[in-house]
């Protein structure tokens, strides 16, 4: 029995790396379990969707089913390179900035570059065979091979027929999927179904399945997530990276909330950023009752500061689906400062990174988006301030040491607030005094009442 996951039941892997040569840490490979990645490129009604597949099972079992607004021609389907998505993922990931305190007796300011974490996500899986569909009200509107994928575009008159056809072709369809399919059929959506062509796949030389890209024109700017919740055993994560011409993308039927950013957190996080960000994200999800979509990055692609990865070139953006690159000339001015510009000149693209944790109950409706003219830059960014570790013998140094203790306490409190972790656990990690009980006896407050009644209890 072949298994089919429809669109968004994916595992994730995470890596953290620094492009300035400071290797810091590699976060857990499955930092965000059950997550997926999508790149959306949009301008007016034209859309290019890139769906990442990181399927790890038998590729014969792979299949992808996506509702699409129209019958897609072969030229509207493309196989992308995984590295391009990984580049955008790394570029837009939440990041750490590390600063070093100067010698308080000899003030100079140091700044180190950043750490980044990214999540790349695998894809759906399943298997497919062609079958006589007409009697079930299923019509194969188009059939072709693109790259290592055999593609079918299906239309159906009613969901029961479509489910029957899929089951007859040995797909294990969850019972609830029929209701969702019925809704899409009644909205005149078609179904893009992809399977792996083993012969073509062996020619590619790749050991993994490459992302699938589809281009179409539709006034709908949305992502169908309902199919992905049907078979899910719990909340899933979806990371949506959009590239637009005018400005930021946001959801119109759910709140888009900025992830906390700019806070100073304890330096020990440098080696622990993966679990820390996972906890930060989980805490924000909890505070919003898992009803919000979180903004992790929104920035003009012409420049970056700090840069979590090398800026993407115009060619890389074009490979991700930015179709207006050829018609745009580099008339934009690149900021003439120390911030890193995009290679090859200015690019007219704005990147937005949205991260949502969803399930069927909290997100009953598909995600609907709009492109705004909001050009305000935002990034999920956390600051490490490394203390000066040299000897401090001047008068200013005494004040620095006292202030350092207070700052470290505040950093612990901030991290506790961001993650929901007990502040004393964090204090212990950074070697700060925690609760009153952790203090040496001569530092503990005098609990005089203990003497008052202790002898009565004996």
């Amino acid at each position: 029995m072949r298994l089919i996951f429809i669109l968004s039941l994916l595992l994730s892997s995470v890596s953290a790396y620094c492009f300035c040569g400071f290797y810091v840490a590699k976060a857990d490979a499955k930092l965000f379990n059950e997550s997926s990645q999508v790149v959306l490129v949009r301008d007016e009604d034209r859309t290019v969707v890139t769906m990442v597949n990181d399927f790890k099972g038998d590729i014969k079992e792979f299949a992808l089913v996506v509702p699409v607004p129209s019958v897609l021609e072969k030229e509207q389907v493309h196989v992308a390179e995984k590295k391009d998505v990984e580049r955008l993922d790394a570029y837009t990931s939440p990041r750490l900035v590390e600063y070093y305190d100067p010698d308080p007796c000899n003030t100079r300011i140091y700044e180190k570059d950043m750490l980044a974490m990214s999540a790349n996500a695998p894809g759906s899986l399943g298997g497919m065979q062609n079958e006589k569909a007409k009697s079930l009200g299923v019509k194969i509107e188009a059939e072709y091979t693109v790259g290592e994928y055999d593609i079918l575009i299906l239309s159906a008159k009613e969901s029961g027929g479509l489910v029957t056809w899929l089951k007859q072709n040995k797909y294990r369809i969850p019972d609830n999927a029929e209701k969702v399919l019925k809704s899409y059929i009644n909205q005149n959506l078609k179904f893009f179904v992809a399977k792996v062509n083993l012969k073509e796949q062996s020619k590619t030389g790749f050991t993994y399945l490459r992302p699938i890209q589809i281009a179409y024109e539709s006034s709908r700017f949305m992502l169908p997530i309902r199919l992905g919740t049907v078979n899910s055993k719990g909340p899933q994560d979806l990371i949506i990276m959009t590239l637009t011409r005018k400005g930021r993308v946001e959801t119109t039927n759910y709140r888009t909330v900025k992830i906390p950013s700019g806070q100073n957190i304890p330096p020990y996080v440098k080696n622990d950023f993966g679990p820390v960000y996972k906890a930060i994200f989980a805490e924000q999800v909890r505070k919003e009752d898992m009803k919000a979509v979180f903004l992790e990055y929104a920035w003009d692609m012409s420049w970056c500061d700090p840069c979590a990865a090398e800026p993407l070139s115009a060619d890389e953006l074009k490979s991700l689906g930015v179709f207006w690159m050829d018609s745009e000339t580099s008339e934009k001015t690149i900021p003439s400062n120390r911030f890193r510009p995009a290679p090859g000149g200015a690019v007219n693209a704005f990147a937005t990174r949205l991260h949502v944790r969803y399930d069927a109950e909290k997100f009953p409706d598909d995600l609907m988006f709009q492109e705004t003219t909001n050009k305000e830059n935002f990034q999920g960014r956390y600051v490490l301030q490394q203390p000066f570790e040299g000897s401090v013998s001047c008068e200013a140094g005494k004040g620095y040491k006292e202030g350092l203790g207070r700052r470290q306490d505040q950093e612990a409190i901030t991290l506790a607030s961001l993650t929901g972790w007990p502040v004393n656990d964090i204090r212990k990690k950074i070697g700060r005094p925690g609760s009153e009980d952790d203090k040496p006896d001569d530092k503990k407050p005098n609990k005089w009442w203990k003497k008052l009644w202790d002898k009565d209890k004996k």
Binding site: S159, K179, K182, S183, N186, Q187, S219, R220, F221, M222, K246, E250, T251, T252, N253, Y254, R255, T256, V257, K258, D289, K291, A292, P364, D365, M368, Q370, T372, T373, N374, K375, E376
Partner: protein
């Protein structure tokens, strides 16, 4: 004795609207952290007040209308998003100026805030964020309470009711037609943005028809066009455009269904013939 009547303190209905809108502005800025700033809120409100005072002086109005201008400023703060203080101020000027430029029989053709929103969106100078309130149950109760109180005092609850029932019928009808579970229309109908539009945008007595039947027709048309724009054209700003388009015909409805003139200090469902 029988002739004595208890003196009643008459409160202008706009007072309740101002209290409600200011409450929402505070929540929006400090709890929901809208994509705007305190500076833009101040510029929006002051811009409206200054423009109103200027036009009142220009048109030699004996009685200023700063309360309405304050309402417009708060509405723009809640609804309109721009990239600059200059565009925020421009929105205020456009909103207030529209009351004087597009006026007839003592009324204005367009809801002032809505006019500015549509003009700026049309020229890609601004945007609205329909999802900014989310679907929180407790805030929905707050909207219902304050919004309901406002339209009750202004005696324009009929418009709000007709609009919402029409819109809800279309949303639920569509869900039944495509086979969506009821959680989806429920999610769409409990949007904070929709509730604010229902209570504060479409109930403006100065820019809606005078006759009750005219108002019901007005509300139904806005609901229909708004639903069409949302469900078929997938425009998140469809309701604002719908209100703008239908407002263009308000003068015709008033011409056909003649009725009296709404007075803020003597609110009436049927309107008073002055």
């Amino acid at each position: 004795m029988a002739d004595q009547k208890k003196s009643r303190i008459k409160i202008d209905p706009r007072f309740f609207q101002i209290v409600s809108l200011l409450t929402f502005v505070v929540f929006g800025l400090f709890v929901f952290e809208f994509d705007t700033t305190i500076e833009k809120a101040i510029v929006s409100i002051i811009g409206c007040l200054v423009t109103q005072a200027g036009f009142d002086c220009l048109f030699k109005r004996k009685k200023g209308n700063l309360m309405s201008a304050l309402i417009t400023g708060c509405s723009l703060t809640l609804l309109l998003r721009t990239n600059s203080l200059e565009l925020t101020f421009l929105a205020s000027v456009l909103a207030i100026a529209a009351k004087f430029v597009f006026a007839y029989s003592g009324k204005h053709l367009f809801n002032p805030a809505n006019f500015a929103i549509v003009v700026l969106i049309f020229f890609n100078l601004a945007w609205v964020s329909p999802g900014q309130w989310g679907n929180s149950f407790y805030y929905m109760l707050l909207f219902l309470f304050l919004g309901g109180l406002t339209v009750w005092k202004s005696l324009r609850y009929d418009v709000a009711l007709v609009f919402f029932l029409t819109f809800a019928s279309l949303v639920i009808g569509r869900a039944l037609f495509v086979g969506d579970p009821m959680t989806i229309p429920l999610h769409r109908l409990t949007s904070g943005s929709l509730l604010l539009f229902t209570f504060f945008m479409i109930t403006d007595p100065r820019s809606t028809p005078n006759h009750p039947l005219g108002r019901y027709l007005f509300a139904m048309l806005v609901a229909c066009f708004g639903w069409w724009g949302t469900a078929k054209l997938f425009r998140p700003d469809a309701l604002f455009y719908a209100l703008f388009i239908v407002s263009c015909g308000t003068w015709l409805i008033d011409f056909v269904l003649k009725s009296g003139f709404y007075k803020w200090d003597q609110p009436s469902v049927k309107t008073i013939v002055s």
